[in-house]
Every structure is written in C-alpha cells, then in structure tokens.
Subunit: 379 residues, 2 copies
C-alpha cells in the first residue's frame, strides 16, 4: 500500500467530555500529527482497553485536552513508513504501547529507558510531541480508531506465532508488570515472586513471573480468585482479608519480589513489606488516586532491609523481549474480543468493574480487546 | 593474661531508670552472661556514644529491662578467648558493634547478614541471648564499663594503623552508613551519592562515600554545616530550607543513591526522591520516633522508578571491610575524647545536641568517645 492510501484525517471514538465513559464516545474525524521521516502509519486491527483509558477519558487523573482518542494497546498493519524507518515495513503486523515518543537524546533514552525520559515522555494519547520536526506541538491520539500514526522508535513488530489480539493488551498491561519483573531479577536473583491483585495487570504478573521461572504467589483480598490465579501460574495463594498482621505472619519473609498491581489506596503496605526477605523489593505499578500509605514508619525498612519502589510501563526493547517470550512459551492473555463499534457498551461494562471480575458462580477474569473488523481484526 | 584475671562480675555505668540520661547513670556491679566456648572477654579502652544509647537508656524506643549498660561502639584488649575462637587471641585490640549475637543458622546468618537474622538478632545491650549454651537467656550488657563479654562471631580485630579511639564510633555509626553504601554500589554503579544530615551518621556517610570513590553531595536543612561537609568530602551542598519543590528542582535527577541519616520525622521525603535518577535508591538509616511520611503518593515512585529502602547497622564482615578501608585511606572519625568517669556530664551534653553541632561561631561537629584510662585508653 502506498502512502496515498492513508487518509489525511483519521477517524476514531473521541472522548469529548468527562462523561464519555458513560457510553458517550463520539465517532468523529481528527487530524493526526504531521507525518515525519521516522513515523509509521498503522491500520488498527485491535486495541486493548486499559484502565488508564477510563481515567484519562473521564479526567480522573487530572485535566484533559478534549477531544481525546484513548487506547494504547494498539495492534495493526503497517501502511506507511518514513524514510528513516528500517525495522518495520509496509505489511508488517506491529504494536504500539502506552508511549509514543520521547526526546531520544537524554541518558535515559540512550539507555533504552525512554519511559523515564528526562525531558518529555509523550503518551500515546493525551500527550504533545516536542521533538523538532513537522509534528512538533501536535497532540497524540490513541487506538480506538481506524489509523494510528506513531514515531517508529515506539513501534514494535509482533513476532510470528503470537495471536494479534492476544498480543494487544500485553503492549501496556503486560509490559507494565514484565518490565519490573525483569528489572528486579524474577526467576534469577528473585526466585520467589508475589503478585498483589488479580486484575488486568495482576493476571499478566502471574503469567510472566511463571514464564520467567519464578515460584509465584498470588496475593489477593479474598480467596475468590484462587482458582483463576492457579490457572495463571500461582502455586501459592495469600488472602490478606482484613490486612491485619495475623494474615501476613504465616508468610513472613518468604518472597524476594512483590509486584503490587492494586489501585486500592487502603492497601496494607506494611503487611506486604513483611512478606519480603531482607534485600527484597515491593514494586508499585498501580496508581491509586489517593496516597499508598499514611503514617509510614521507618522501622520495617530498617530492620527488614526491604525497599518500596515503582515502575512505569516498559520500553520498546522490553516490549519486544516480552512478546518474544510470550510467543516462545505460548503465553495467552485472558481476553474477550468485542467489536470496536460497540465501545459505548463495552466501556461502561468495564467501568463497572464487570470486566475485571464477573460476579458469577465461576468467576472468569478477562481483559477486553476492541476488534476493528473493517481493518481485518477477527472477532 | 589468663582467664583467672577476668573478674566474675563486671562493673559499668548502669542506666537504672528513665532519667539516667539526665546525669544519673550509676557505677555498679552486674553479672555478664556465663562464658561460652565461643565467647571473648574484652577489657574496654574506648566506647563511642551513639544516639541509640540515649534512646535506650531513657526508654524512648520502648520499654527497657533495667539495669542496662549501654554503649555499642566498644574497643578494647582481648583478655580471654573460648576454645572455639580462632580469629582473635589474648592481647589483640578488637571491636564490637551494635550486634552481639544471632542464631548463626538461618539463611541471613549464613549469608553474612546476621543483622537481619530471621530468629533473634541480639543487641549488644538490651538484648537476651537465645542460642543454646551456658549464656542462654542472659541479658546483654554494653560498653560503658570495664569489661565486655561477647560471642566471638561478633568480635572484629582492629587493623594495624587505625587509631583505636577513632575506630570506636565506626563500629556502629560508621558501618550503619558504610553497609548500605556498599550494598547499593557507591562509587561503582552509584557514582553520585547524597548524604542527608550532617550528624554522627552523616559525617561517616560523607567520609566513606568519598573513600569508596563516589562524587559526594551533602544535603542539609541550612548552609550552616557546609564548610564542615566540604572538609568531610562533599563537593556539592544542597540546602533544603523549607523542603519545598523549589529547593529541590535545580538538583532533580542528579543522584544515584541517597543515604538518609536524619531522625527528623518531618523530612521532605518526596523532595529527596526527586533528587534521584531513575533506578536510584533512598536508604533510611535513621529512625525517627514518628512516621517518615504522611500521605505517601505512588506517582513519584512510578514515574521516577525510584525506591525507598532501609538498612540497619552492618555485619561483622562489613565492619572488617570498613575498618580496613579506614586504615588504608587514613579516614578519621571526628571525635572528642572524654573520660569514661565523666559520663554523667557527657551524656547530658550530647542529649542537648551540643555534641552534634555546637552553636559556635565556627561550628565543629564531633562524636564523643568515652575513654577508659584505667584500661589503657588514651585521652
């Protein structure tokens, strides 16, 4: 396909106001950034729905410059590449995660950690490009749409053998947990790994921690998700119930690394820390709207030699590594495919937490993936 | 000297009530633990005064089983060794830090990290021995005394060339900062190191961070300690003043590691975290009586990829390594020697923070070391 076939304007489900997540996304035209020599245009086949989409579309994480096209777990076919792009070509199936651009020049960018760019890590939506070039100053628009334009540095080829819809939610949700699992040595220096929360992020935590060779413990409020957690790879389950010391005491100092995916601002942080062996790490990847701790004491840190850290999404190189691991080990996201045109039914479902865990006799966790059948996505 | 010359009862400056630190230590007899095959008896020449001594003697850190002999920066001459002790002999000059015993069998003890013993890390004072043997159940007594009896595993030889009085405060204060500096790669993976607080611990932080090859930044409330900090090795000084973002902004993401020695419960923790590069660590070694943070938010951890940890004292093997470094590089603690018999004058001075930083025109920071001239200590 030549570039002539890519329209100059794109269409997408736009959030135009804070109530968009109540079934009020609007299908309308918008203007993507001007095409640069290092850009890639993608015909969108799949887009996972991430909790961040809802926080942003609704303005829950702060003011938003409407209209916004959310969605940052994008998979599709390359339909145009700039002259500087060498790693993908027209016809390739590629993915874009939650980051679209960065300065490419700072220490972090040069160390393949552009998500921590010192200057301007640009989100796939709700961002503004700032590098010199024709797109400077333009807004970024995400994947609930027909096309997506992205700087090629943030476009990753989907490896052969990995289902394209299953790959989609890995691009943000998957790498958000895979990245700290790798950074903190899961399966290597950290043999015993705990995952707090069995939701969109947590299910990837269990799947990838197991794939990396760790002994996996699922940590959840109640036993309701135990059966699913075991299917995802957990060999031990800790129900924290009230969050009192008694719930944690039997498991004290039994983990080397905990990835904490919960958004619950009342999480029992000190209890989680007590599960770590000295030298262990508790890494936050969820972002509660409130503080993660009140009255944080020093002694658990001192006498436990434990640390509390955080991690945000993952770099394109980590995404590539994760997708290759998923292809090799046949790791499957737990997804449900829904037509992209039904977004105004799907999002309210998810917003009501139905997607996270259905209130059924045999609860089944799923992540929704929007399917753009017009562009070749398969339901 | 044969064992016959070691008295069966020891004498020391005993804390007998919460007001002991107001000049009411009492010189009296007490019974040390029964001598075991792996014990060492030490004729005390020097004992540094550590802030922990005051917290414990006064009951500030919780209930205390009086009488207590505090002091855990002990240097003296070996006068008796048990049959199992091979690494020191009668006549050697040795030191004992803040830890006196541990189970010696758990994963942490076997990994030379007995300060994080899974079972019972026994303090040099205010502890009770729990290993099988003649001393099981006995109280531990520290160094404001004529003799000290310690399990040999926690007795370290003072290397040749290191002044014995100068070595004393390194045994707790020194290793408390040296241990995390080494654990987190100061001078190696962590080239740029910050030390918060220029007090007993902080001055060692500056001295040892420099000795380990790091670029050292001193971080203090005001500029008053700048000249001293530079003498101790700092090449950059950050005054945090009010703790507002403006005070930190010019230095954002400029450090790889921060050792936080302050006891100030109102410390600007989020400001300190903003000084770290992604992947950086803020390590607490001071123990405020209140919480170190209220309303701890998640975002600085996520977007900064920084972590908050803690570290307690140091193992005998780390003490040995530190003393050898100090001997080799001629590192000198900033000390003032005071006769041990004057303890009831010295402690009230220190309690009033005069020792930490004198209110003089040219302030000079010092750590007090009690000198037992009867046993050969030199004023």
């Amino acid at each position: 396909m030549s570039s002539a076939e890519v329209p100059s304007k794109f269409h997408g489900w736009c959030a135009v106001s804070k109530d968009s997540i109540e079934g009020k996304f609007v299908w309308q035209e918008y203007e993507p950034k001007a095409f640069a020599d290092d850009d890639v245009d993608i015909k969108i086949m799949y887009c996972g729905i991430c909790a961040s989409d809802l926080h942003t579309a609704s303005g829950g994480w702060g003011e938003v410059d409407y209209p916004q096209v959310v969605g940052h777990e994008i998979v599709g076919e390359v339909v145009r590449v700039g002259s500087q792009v060498k790693h993908v070509k027209v016809g390739d199936i590629v993915g874009v995660g939650a980051q679209n651009d960065s300065c490419l020049e700072c220490v972090q960018c040069k160390a393949s950690r552009p998500q921590y760019c010192d200057n301007n890590p640009v989100g796939t939506y709700n961002g503004r490009y700032s590098r010199e070039g024709p797109g400077k100053g333009a807004k970024s628009y995400g994947g609930y749409a027909d096309y997506h334009r992205a700087p090629g540095h943030f476009v990753v080829k989907i490896p052969d053998g990995l289902d394209h819809a299953i790959a989609a939610p890995m691009l943000c949700g998957g790498v958000t947990v895979h990245s700290p699992l790798v950074q903190y040595g899961a399966g290597k220096t950290a043999k015993d790994v705990g995952i707090v929360g069995i939701g969109g992020l947590g299910h990837f935590g269990l799947l990838f921690a197991k794939a990396l060779g760790a002994n996996v413990t699922a940590i959840s409020h109640s036993e309701s998700k135990k059966a699913d957690a075991e299917k995802m790879g957990a060999t031990r389950f800790i129900a924290t119930h009230s969050g009192s010391d008694d719930d944690f005491a039997p498991y004290k100092r039994s983990l080397d690394l905990i990835i904490c995916t919960t958004n619950d601002a009342s999480m029992p942080l000190i209890g989680y820390l007590s599960l770590l062996r000295p030298g262990g790490h508790l890494i936050l990847v969820g972002a509660p709207e409130g503080p993660v701790a009140r009255e944080l004491p020093a002694f658990p840190f001192l006498f436990g030699n434990v640390s509390l850290g955080g991690s945000a999404i993952g770099s394109p190189s980590t995404i590539k590594e994760m997708l290759e691991l998923a292809a090799k080990q046949n790791i499957k996201s737990w997804i449900e495919r829904r037509p992209m045109e039904d977004v105004n039914r799907v999002i309210p479902d998810m917003n009501a937490s139905k997607a996270r865990y259905r209130r059924a006799r045999f609860p089944v966790f799923v992540v929704y993936v929007l399917v753009n059948t017009k562009n070749g996505g398969k339901l």
